[in-house]
Symmetry: C2
Subunit: 233 residues, 2 copies
């Protein structure tokens, strides 16, 4: 029997939920998708998209399902973040949530987005409204994880289209890290990683010189450095 809510709005048993921190870059800033809650508690407040895990699906599948209800895109980068299990994080009763974060490219998202029943909106992560439950903490955790992971994996590429310019790639790093990077050092570093392939195409942006488009040679997100502070390579 799955966890359900009784007429008082209290869950019976352990309810397991998933919450997804869905991020994209839009207009040069990092944005987070929030949905407006239509029911108590926190009715009218903004919250992370998410919901209960059904008895027959894996937790990962539940997160994927929630994500696809919002985006209708497959093949999204989705990573489990952390499980929040404080007894009183949900006023209705015991709800343990497994948090995930996901990165999407805005262009792909917008093309496939469909009409929603509940209100949803993108907010700049630097100016978020008050969030329901402990969702603010989850968002902060996701941003911290992302800022760490961008340094030693290729997660940053998930925010871009299949073809991208080096300036766009640098912009994605700058937005996530919240700081400007030196263009020459950034390009040198990226190109010497050997994971980018220049195409013959260029992107014209206005009346200036068009930029070469690159593609990512790896099929998925990879780890960049095995070396650490101790292990020799």
């Amino acid at each position: 029997m799955p966890a359900t809510s009784n007429p008082n709005g209290h869950f019976t048993g352990h309810a397991i939920a998933v919450d997804v921190v869905l991020l994209t870059i839009l207009g040069g800033t990092l944005k987070l998708l929030l949905v407006k809650r239509e029911q108590a508690p926190y009715r009218g407040a903004w919250a992370l998209p998410g919901g209960l895990v059904s008895p027959e699906e894996s937790v990962d599948d539940a997160a994927l399902r929630e994500l696809q209800e919002e985006t209708n895109i497959g093949n999204i980068y989705l990573e489990q973040l952390y499980t929040f299990g404080e007894p009183n994080r949900d006023p209705r009763g015991r709800v343990i949530t497994v948090a995930y974060y996901a990165l999407v490219n805005w262009q792909q998202f917008q093309l496939k987005a469909r009409q929603r029943v509940t209100e949803a909106s993108w907010f700049p992560v630097k100016r978020l409204p008050p969030l329901a439950f402990d969702h603010r903490r989850i968002v902060d955790y996701a941003l911290e994880r992302l800022r760490n992971k961008i340094n030693y994996t290729t997660v940053g590429f998930q925010l871009l289209s299949r073809q991208f310019t080096l300036t766009e790639l640098q912009g994605s790093y700058e937005v996530i890290l919240g700081q400007r990077l030196d263009k020459r050092n950034f390009r040198r570093k990226m190109l010497q990683l050997g994971i980018l392939k220049g195409t013959r195409d260029f992107k014209a942006n206005g009346r200036q010189r068009p930029a070469r488009l690159y593609t990512f040679t790896e099929p998925k997100v990879i780890k960049l450095q095995e070396k650490g502070i101790i292990v020799p390579y």
Copy 2:
């Protein structure tokens, strides 16, 4: 109402468990604590110490409680690993487990260990018996996390006594990483981090020159490098 098991041994509702990968160094090898299962399923098989989360406690507290049932030590380094939520990972029904890993110093452990009702034993991580459920996967995940984290945090220190020699510290790194390290480079690196304080005490080990004992200056596990492959420092 908490998740319980009915006479058929099937859980009703979502049962949430915690499993703990408890590691120590003994005799120069990394060892894992396993307990023998006394009930079906997997009766007689070795498994990670763990159990169900009760309705009133946080998931972290449940992990801590399980750990203290095994070790009777407080102040252990305990970190949440990952949540495993496949529907069929437990033949009795739906059990979602939140995995943790913990590191203890063998000397402290042994002093405070108490009699157990269930059989428990340390196994070298390189030669583990077949494990119940998906516990093997959890162990592998923990070891991978540990190998990563030792490179940019001070988790490795958790395996040592309060005072330790640099050779012991190096040994802890070598055992976790599974490779030999250069003594001079290791010492240079460790000392220049500025987190070790030499004491006036020495440790005599036999008929050779005694080694200086050091202590760790930080109150807890810290992150060592903010710098990554992109961010300047």
